[in-house]
Symmetry: C2
Subunit: 326 residues, 2 copies
């Protein structure tokens, strides 16, 4: 095999840890290092990777090929992505949909000036879901698109249920309603509100004497639960610990429409994820490979997943994928 | 809007007719003509398009931008694709999976020598399903892939049920079993046979007195039905005519695996098509746009859907798709 692609991970939160695990699953890659703004000695990694101080990243220009930026979209990436795109090929998972064009502009300018390549907004949404929203429009031009998120763990709503008196442990999932998914497959329901499209499902550990009151308090909690179809399940602590510690997420992109008056067509893409950050990181790692190879071929500037052919994301040769997967 | 992409359709069967309808749904395209090996005067088109004799196609080199080849994979495309790739940018839907590498080689040589671009094996399988088989491997490297076809109209099995005495009208659909799909989502069932993965569902018009015998004869028909879970529905002729004259097809590509020991991930892509040829043609039309634009940018040789970024398949600008779909 050719020389391995040397990956650097910037930021060690959920996504950074996921990227560390994902690099291990890809035989053509090796982890050159993890970079953090915190004291490297305080970071306990999953695989005994080297952790460095992010301030020194400039000195790694000969030691790594591409950076995966795992900072937060709210305040880390708007600064980090343009800055680091001047030094390395990068990928990020920037997910503030409304501000993507602005982010693109800044990263593109930085990358163009430095002759580097940057792929922004990779992940699953934005990312794979965006690809499917675009593909749906392309192959069923006369139709409608519906994106649903969930079954997904909601951080905010889980915290809200845990504040109810007597709740020892609790989580909340947002779940698209099966009958509304079915409507979407038939091209109906585009004008529904979030509350009409999703239900809320809670899993709670509490003493039996408190169950009725807790259920009532959750279901009537204003803003958080009141307008929603809410179900509360009481479970034992053991089940909770084995089943509900995961950052589950996923969802559906459904496109349906007509290719002619007589004929309806529908296309659907869905994800069921037990770990949102590990999956997102797996996608980032694949786009990191693409950034590396396309940059080597001379491509520069900022790109989005729309611009990247799948053949650039795999470690297999064109002959292999043609033979085995086409 | 810029000048329209001028499309030529070669071969006017199911796919050719679908391509004619699909061009109409794409505002940046116009149909320059349909080319046939039969007498053009005998062809009744859906939209009053011009029909020409295929022998004269060479004289259209200034009059059209890209050809969509709608011949059959068995004997038309192996000849036509390399031949016409010397004259125009082309797309085809070549679907003989085992012979794709060979087909690629011939088309690539022809296109390279002529400085043209050819996209082969576009459609849904090969095509969109292939893309999802590859994507699944890329983002869930430690896992398994399952492709299911159906609910789909089976030409051969429909003919078989129509040969049973007393059957006035009849169709047969091959349908993946719901419980096996569920297993695939959980990473199980890779070693099952086709008969274990699919059931057969027939819709029959016949006199009531014959129902019991017809059902028995169908279910026990050797090779065709005997090993399968078969259901026979008797319906009235009106229902048959409105519901079962369509070339339905579709299927599922399911990828499931682990991003780490603790976390399972699953990705699924599915199509529910009321007209297999119209949908396939819609996909071909999108790849025709890509062939046109990428050829204009200087790309040559043969490519597969793996090599084409989705941004090359849309008529929208990069700024538009970034803002609306990313
Ligand atoms: N496109 C998609 O589909 C998608 C999906 C999911 C998430 N995302 C994006 O990914 C971003 C990152 O998500 P995340 O879950 O990885 O966020 P996170 O865990 O909060 O990590 C973000 C950053 O915070 C710092 N950090 C982490 N743990 C810390 C701690 N204990 N103390 C102090 N600082 C800590 C890390 O930087 P240092 O190591 O430098 O301190 C890390 O890079 C999100 O903002 C979201 O926008 C995108
Ligand atoms: N990749 C995918 O997902 C996918 C999906 C579906 C199909 N396909 C491929 O598409 C190919 C074409 O499918 P199709 O359903 O369009 O096949 P078809 O209807 O049999 O047409 C094939 C060719 O036969 C000729 N023809 C059609 N009707 C005729 C008639 N009444 N009399 C004499 N000749 C006639 C036409 O050429 P002339 O006009 O020159 O006579 C036409 O181009 C299939 O072989 C399959 O490989 C691919």
């Amino acid at each position: 095999m050719a020389e391995k692609v040397r990956i650097g991970i910037v930021g060690y939160g959920n996504l950074g840890r996921g990227a560390e695990l994902a690099v291990e699953k890809n035989p053509d890659m090796e982890l050159a290092g993890i970079f953090t703004r915190r004291d490297p000695n305080t970071i306990q990694t999953a695989t005994n990777a080297n952790v460095y101080c992010q301030d020194n990243i400039r000195s790694f220009q000969d030691k790594l090929d591409v950076l995966i930026l795992c900072g937060g979209s709210a305040s880390d990436l708007p600064e980090m992505s343009p800055e680091l795109a001047r030094l390395f090929p990068i990928v990020d998972s920037y997910d503030n949909h409304a501000k993507i064009p602005d982010h693109y502009k800044k990263v593109n300018q930085a990358a163009e000036e430095a002759g580097k390549l940057a792929i922004i907004s990779a992940g699953w949404d934005p990312g794979l879901f965006s690809l499917n929203r675009l593909l749906g429009e392309i192959v069923i031009p006369d139709g409608g698109t519906h994106t649903f998120w969930g079954k997904g763990l909601s951080q905010g709503h889980s915290e809200a249920v845990r504040r109810v008196e007597g709740v020892k442990k609790g989580v909340q999932y947002t779940v698209p309603m099966e009958e509304i998914l079915e409507d979407a497959r038939n091209g109906k329901g585009e004008d529904l509100t979030a509350a009409e499209r999703h239900k809320r499902v809670c899993y709670i550990v509490a003493d039996e004497k408190d169950h009725a009151r807790i259920e009532e308090e959750i279901k009537t909690m204003p803003d958080y639960f009141a307008p929603y179809d809410t179900t509360v399940h009481f479970i034992d602590e053991e089940t909770f610990d084995s089943e509900h510690q995961k950052m589950r997420h996923g969802g559906f992109v459904i496109r349906s429409g007509n290719s002619s008056k007589a004929h309806k067509q529908a296309m659907e893409f869905s994800l069921t994820l037990e770990s949102n950050p590990e999956f997102t990181a797996s996608v980032l790692v694949a786009y990191a490979r693409a950034a590396y190879h396309l940059h080597k071929k001379g491509e520069t500037g900022a790109k989005t997943p729309f611009d990247i052919p799948f053949s650039a994301m795999t470690h297999k040769t064109s002959a292999e994928i043609m033979k085995d997967l086409l």
